[in-house]
């Protein structure tokens, strides 16, 4: 393997960065081990100073954009009497009682930590003022200002959850905590479809868990003539039962709804989330992902069906910046458009089918955090027999109606 190939195996985020390259990460400039030379020592000191200078930089914002939050310790939340700026698209919730935006501990810390909001501790005087607000209130002279450490200490924040939230926010995603949303829209349970199970004597032992594979196939005693391979494959398909969903019984939940950045996101009627994330801290407990826990997560997952009922179709505008992926997709589309219609459809068909097989359906994202290190895993239900009629599966049927999309080998019909 060449050096470049080896480097590609390591995510740039996994390496400890030299702070001399702040803002533009580099790799491969580090050394193997200390050799005691002054050159190395100086270079190390430079790196350390660069790091400490960056950490010591003021957490600040311009006085014109001053945003003030008031920490209310009794409700473990933050009130923002004058919410301005771009942050409140997805952050915070309107509090009727106080007629202002209210932030949860995670959102509060996020805004303060990035230097976008100053925070004070509330007192009785402030709460009185909040009711009528008929004159100016000078926060600085009347209230105690909190530093970041004091805010963390007061907030009792769940640190693993905060880390995931901040990580995704820094990348520009739109995030809301799940529970809050769930309270507002009463949860509509999906009718648990009783799966029509083949209760024939060959299948029952498998259901009981005795014989994983049938010794005798139900076709053993019938006489059938096959003229096409497709029919043979079709007849020997296994009938896989659906994974039954289970109501949550332990404190194991989907934590966040996450959307890709879109300009006209609405907190009140959010579209179906692009990702549904569950935060798991494995630093001291690795008892995770038992089958029953997966079932619980699937139970909690909001499906597109539920959304179609609740949310008016919001017109999605394209984000301004095109990602590399989108640019590539565009080029691909251009190339495809030069091909003739039937080849184009065949390509689309094969691509879509591969995606269905690879990704399955009903994906959830697990954010696994271990001693402060963040990892993401995507978990989906296999859809190999394409029994789940997702949008993609329907598209396959549109392109080639009547085909057995779940069979890789399909004979041409003569």
């Amino acid at each position: 393997m060449s050096q470049d190939e080896l480097n590609d195996l390591i995510d740039v985020e996994d390496e400890i960065q030299d702070w001399k390259n702040l803002g533009m990460p580099k790799r491969g400039t580090k050394e193997f081990e200390p050799d005691g030379t002054t050159f190395q020592l100086n270079s190390l000191e430079d790196s350390r100073n660069a790091m400490f200078n960056a950490l010591g930089a003021n957490r600040q914002h311009h006085i014109k954009n001053t945003l003030v939050g008031i920490w209310k310790d009794d409700s473990n939340s933050c009130l923002v009497p004058n919410a301005k700026g771009n942050y409140f698209k997805d952050v915070g919730k309107y509090n009727k009682l106080y007629n202002c935006i209210e932030l949860n501990p995670i959102e509060t810390i996020y805004l303060v930590e990035r230097g976008s909001m100053v925070i004070y501790l509330s007192d009785d005087e402030f709460m009185d003022w909040l009711k009528d607000r008929n004159m100016e209130f000078d926060y600085e002279t009347n209230l105690v200002a909190l530093d970041l450490e004091y805010l963390y200490a007061l907030s009792n924040v769940n640190f693993a959850k905060y880390q995931i939230y901040a990580y995704l926010k820094r990348l520009g995603y739109i995030i809301q905590e799940r529970e809050e949303i769930e309270q507002e829209q009463e949860q509509e349970q999906e009718q648990s479809e009783e799966h029509k199970q083949d209760k024939s004597f060959t299948i029952l032992p498998r259901v009981w868990g005795i014989l994983s594979y049938p010794v005798l196939h139900s076709l053993q005693f019938k006489k059938v003539h096959y003229f096409r391979y497709t029919d043979v494959y079709k007849s020997i398909q296994l009938n896989i039962p659906k994974i039954p969903k289970k109501e949550p019984s332990s404190p194991f939940h989907l934590t966040f709804n996450v959307w890709k950045p879109t300009p006209n996101f609405s907190k009140k009627s959010p579209p179906l989330p692009d990702f549904q994330v569950s935060v798991i801290d494995t630093s001291k407990n690795t008892d995770f992902l038992k089958f029953s826990q997966i079932q619980q997560l699937l139970f909690e997952k909001t499906t597109s069906l539920q959304y179609e009922l609740k949310v008016k179709e919001s017109i999605k505008k394209k984000p301004k910046m095109e990602s590399k992926k989108e640019v590539r997709a565009k080029k691909q589309a251009e190339r495809q458009s030069k091909l003739n219609e039937s080849t184009r459809l065949r390509n689309e068909y094969l691509k879509t089918r591969d995606e269905v097989i690879k990704n399955g359906h009903g994906n959830i994202v697990l954010a696994v955090i271990n001693n402060g290190i963040i990892n993401f895993i995507q978990l989906g239900i296999g859809n190999f027999n394409m029994s789940q009629k997702t949008e993609q599966v329907n598209r396959l049927e549109e392109i080639y109606p009547g085909r057995h999309h779940e069979l890789i080998y399909n004979e041409p019909v003569y």
């Binding site: 030299d18 081990e33 190390l44 996020y110 450490e149 004091y150 963390y152 769940n158 640190f159």
Partner: protein
């Protein structure tokens, strides 16, 4: 014993999921330069708030670092919430300040109050008990894991959590700002397949894998309800060094 020569290790969330988070830059410098303790930076860097490569305070200390600092009398665990509330009562507050039309939010306040530090001190027994309340650690596993860390830390390595590279820890011969790591650490001996998996993975990230463990692992399967003095004594006792093996994936030709 006086508290003045120890750094404050502020504990947040002591009742639910305790975390030691350092906000004081001087403490971060001391830990890194003076003691080879790295921690993990987790906060948004306000000058570059839209990336995850360079992060800022707070510095999260992992559990082994916390115990090591306490054992060696370098740090003192303090309940951050009650300590800061007490300081507020006696009027010690940090004012946010405005300079050059910029509103500045400080990371911490730097006035130590020795009396209140002693008053709000959390002893290591309580801390570990609270830390382990939702864990599936057995006592012996917890103690052994700490001893492996301690062995490496006392040998002068710089240590980071190892899950990124498929181990329990990753060690650096010098400050990782300047030096590459060449080893991942795996706690306890495991079966041959795990060794193969670990060796292959370590080699693909340009490292070797080091197995660390005790010859006679007497597994005490007791779950932890309460940490008593015996556990702390076991934790702090300097008995024989653990065994270490270095493994590298090798191929023919």
């Amino acid at each position: 014993m006086t508290t003045t020569n120890k750094v404050i290790l502020p504990v947040i969330n002591i009742d639910n999921d305790p975390e030691v988070l350092i906000f004081d830059l001087e403490v971060i410098k001391y830990l890194r330069i003076g003691l080879n303790v790295l921690g993990v930076l987790t906060g948004t860097l306000s000058t570059f708030p839209q990336q995850n490569l360079f992060l800022s305070v707070p510095l999260k200390l992992i559990i082994w670092e916390v115990i090591w600092l306490t054992e060696n009398n370098k740090g003192i665990l303090v309940d951050a919430k009650s300590y800061r509330n007490d300081k507020l009562k006696i009027g010690s507050v940090s004012k946010s300040k405005t300079t050059n039309n910029m509103v500045i939010i400080p990371s911490t306040d730097n006035n130590r109050n020795e009396e209140l530090i002693t008053k709000n001190q959390i002893d290591i027994k309580t801390f570990i008990t609270k830390y382990l309340q939702n864990s599936n650690y057995t006592i012996s596993k917890f103690i052994n894991n700490y001893k492996y860390y301690k062995h490496l830390q006392n040998s002068g390595y710089f240590i980071n959590p190892g899950i990124k590279f498929g181990g329990d820890l990753v060690i650096y011969p010098g400050d990782p700002l300047r030096y590459h790591s060449y080893s991942t650490i795996k706690f306890n001996f495991c079966d041959i397949d795990e060794i193969i998996v670990g060796g292959r993975l370590a080699t693909s990230v340009k490292k070797n894998m080091i197995l660390i463990g005790y010859e006679d692992e007497n597994e005490n399967d007791k779950r932890i309800d309460e940490i008593d003095d015996d556990v702390i004594n076991d934790l702090y006792r300097n008995d024989k060094e653990p065994l270490t093996f270095s493994i590298e994936w090798s191929g023919f030709g």
